[in-house]
């Protein structure tokens, strides 16, 4: 499964046969996929499908039981500098004295010791980043007082300012209203395209990502299917992944993934829409 030489060098991230066990439970089971530079990949799965665990393994915060994660062809360690990360559930007290621009600035050098010295280059870099995510107008507001969508833009700027080659975002659209979610997706797609930064974004809802995704990694029951949306979002593929029948319906350019009324009586009565809604994982 592992590709060496030219094949591996071309991918920014390569995950091979990844197994993760947590407390005796198998969270990820033989997960493999690759991401090329500048590619926009959606990591789709219900709550508990293992999306956050996968991110933690990629970031080196969680050891894998088996398998390999290679970033720019190298395993772990310093290569993680190539990663930017936006965590799930960012909660910050509205009273914390930290302006949006301070958090973006921390993205430059938070790992260094000492107090950041004010400098013109630093200020200009932060200002440019704020402009890139359309955040100039609320740059001086405390982070804790921003709306969910504004916070996501600041977190993206915080992750991007260290110039990563792959941006990992864990459920950035959760808790956003539809319009803010669409704005964040549009922003990410623009950044991926203009700066050639690969994006791996997790979501439990596939539709907001459909217009911009190059590839999808679909997680269910710890296993993954990956390919283009046309290859993966099909009844045969997803039924095989879930281990029981699901239907994929197209409704005005959006997809609904619905637990099929098949032999699996457990599912009777569930009006499942989208991964997880009616499908035990």
């Amino acid at each position: 499964m592992s590709l060496d030489g030219s094949g591996a060098a071309a991918s920014i991230l390569e995950v091979s046969d990844l197994d993760v066990q947590l407390g005796g439970r198998r969270i990820l089971d033989g997960v493999s996929f690759r991401i090329a530079p500048g590619e926009f990949t959606g990591l789709i799965g219900s709550n508990g499908a293992g999306k956050t665990t996968l991110f933690r393994v990629i970031l080196g915060l969680q050891p894998a039981s088996a398998g390999r994660v290679a970033i720019e062809g190298a395993a772990g360690g310093r290569s993680r500098r190539a990663l930017g990360y936006v965590p799930q559930k960012f909660l910050i007290d509205p009273d914390v004295p930290l302006r949006a621009r301070d958090l973006v600035g921390l993205g430059i050098d938070a790992q260094r010791l000492g107090v950041p010295l004010p400098s013109r280059t630093r200020r200009e870099r932060v200002e440019q980043m704020l402009e890139a995510v359309d955040a100039v107008e609320f740059a001086d507001t405390r982070v804790g007082r921003l709306s969910g969508g504004e916070q996501q833009r600041i977190l993206i700027a915080h992750a991007l300012i260290s110039e990563p080659r792959l941006l990992l975002l864990d459920e950035p659209l959760a808790n956003l209203d539809l319009r803010s979610a669409a704005e964040v997706v549009r922003l990410l797609a623009r950044i991926a395209r203009e700066q050639r930064i690969a994006v791996l974004i997790s979501a439990h809802e596939i539709n907001p990502l459909l217009p911009v995704m190059d590839r999808v990694v679909y997680l269910a029951s710890g296993r993954a299917a990956n390919g283009t949306t046309a290859e993966i979002i099909r009844a045969e593929v997803l039924s095989k992944l879930y281990g029981h029948h699901v239907d994929v319906l197209n409704v005005h350019g959006r997809v609904l993934i619905v637990a099929g009324a098949g032999e699996d009586t457990d599912l009777a009565g569930h009006e499942g829409m989208f991964p997880g809604a009616g499908i035990p994982s």
Binding site: R80, D95, P97, L98, Q111, V115, G148, N175, H204
Partner: protein, 306 residues
């Protein structure tokens, strides 16, 4: 001029040796507690700060038994307590208050024993009161050296860790993803907090030390939007409260009922509290005017998270 100010600065104030020592130590401690306190409030570790304050009682009473100065006891007691909290699991956010509370309970039990043992040989009321409520005018001039050394250590730790500590206080996952050793940073910060609480206990007593640690910082957080400005503001509030407290306590030697001086800690804590109340006014007024409240609408958008 001097007689015009005499109702404020009672005779001998500027010449008094205890006043000078108190002002020097008070200033250092106000700076140290401001720096550490801002992070304490940001990290939501006020309870740990309170616990270190209270546990100073154990160290202080232990020092009485052994016959050394109170500062040594505060420092030793708090550092041991910090290690115990770390061992019991203060860094897990879920069990944090529990770990703090368990160590606090055990430590105060020891304090009860130490005071009992000491009291069976001496009259303890005066010393116990000075441990609990501070005795900044009674600090020996030989203590200034150690206070400077400890203050420098705390400032050094906190300033060195400033950026990693700030990011891990905001979000530990983001910090860990950048390769910051979150656990080590948290442990070193806990040590700085333990030392800062020991210094605060020396000035205004073990029980009240948390007021100096948390009060100016909490007021500063209400007034500023930037972390460094918050530290400076908290320092200014702390120094102001300390100086004014020392002045009023000195003046109060001529006050009723006993004409023996009200406690400095009473004045300091009261000033800190009043400043905290005043610091809330701008925001309360803004809210009444209907300025932008903390947004809740977008976050509670229903329907998307199933």
């Amino acid at each position: 001029m001097s007689h015009l100010l005499s109702p404020v600065f009672a005779a001998g104030f500027f010449e008094s040796e205890p006043v000078r020592i108190a002002a020097a130590i008070g200033t250092l401690v106000a700076v140290v507690t401001a720096l550490v306190g801002v992070f304490t409030v940001m990290r939501g570790q006020s309870f740990a700060g309170e616990a270190f304050g209270d546990l100073g009682t154990t160290g202080g009473s232990g020092a009485l038994l052994v016959g050394v100065g109170p500062l040594g006891g505060f420092v030793a007691g708090n550092v041991i307590a910090a290690a115990a909290m770390e061992a019991v699991g203060i860094q897990r956010s879920r069990g944090r208050d529990l770990a703090t509370g368990i160590v606090l309970g055990a430590g105060l039990g020891l304090a009860a024993l130490f005071l009992y043992l000491y009291g069976s040989e001496h009259s303890t009321t005066g010393t116990t009161v000075s441990i609990l409520f501070g005795s900044i005018f009674a600090v020996a001039s030989s203590t200034i050296g150690p206070v400077i050394g400890l203050s420098a250590a705390v400032v050094l730790i906190t300033v060195a860790l400033y950026r990693p500590l700030l990011l891990s206080s905001i979000n530990s996952e983001m910090a860990a993803a950048r390769g910051i050793p979150v656990r080590l940073v948290g442990a070193l910060y806990l040590l700085a907090l333990a030392l800062a609480a020991a210094l605060a206990a020396l000035t205004i007593g073990t029980i009240l030390s948390t007021a100096l640690l948390v009060g100016p910082a909490a007021s500063a957080l209400r007034l500023t939007r930037r972390p460094l400005t918050a530290v400076l503001t908290a320092g200014a509030i702390g120094i102001g409260a300390m100086w004014l407290g020392i002045l009023l306590a000195y003046d109060s030697y001529s006050w009723p009922p006993a004409k023996q001086g009200w406690p400095v800690s009473f004045f300091v804590v009261t000033i800190v509290f009043l400043v905290y109340l005043l610091a809330g006014l701008p925001e309360a007024r803004a809210r009444r005017r209907g300025a932008r409240p903390a947004p809740a609408g977008e976050r509670s958008a229903p329907g998307l998270e199933g």
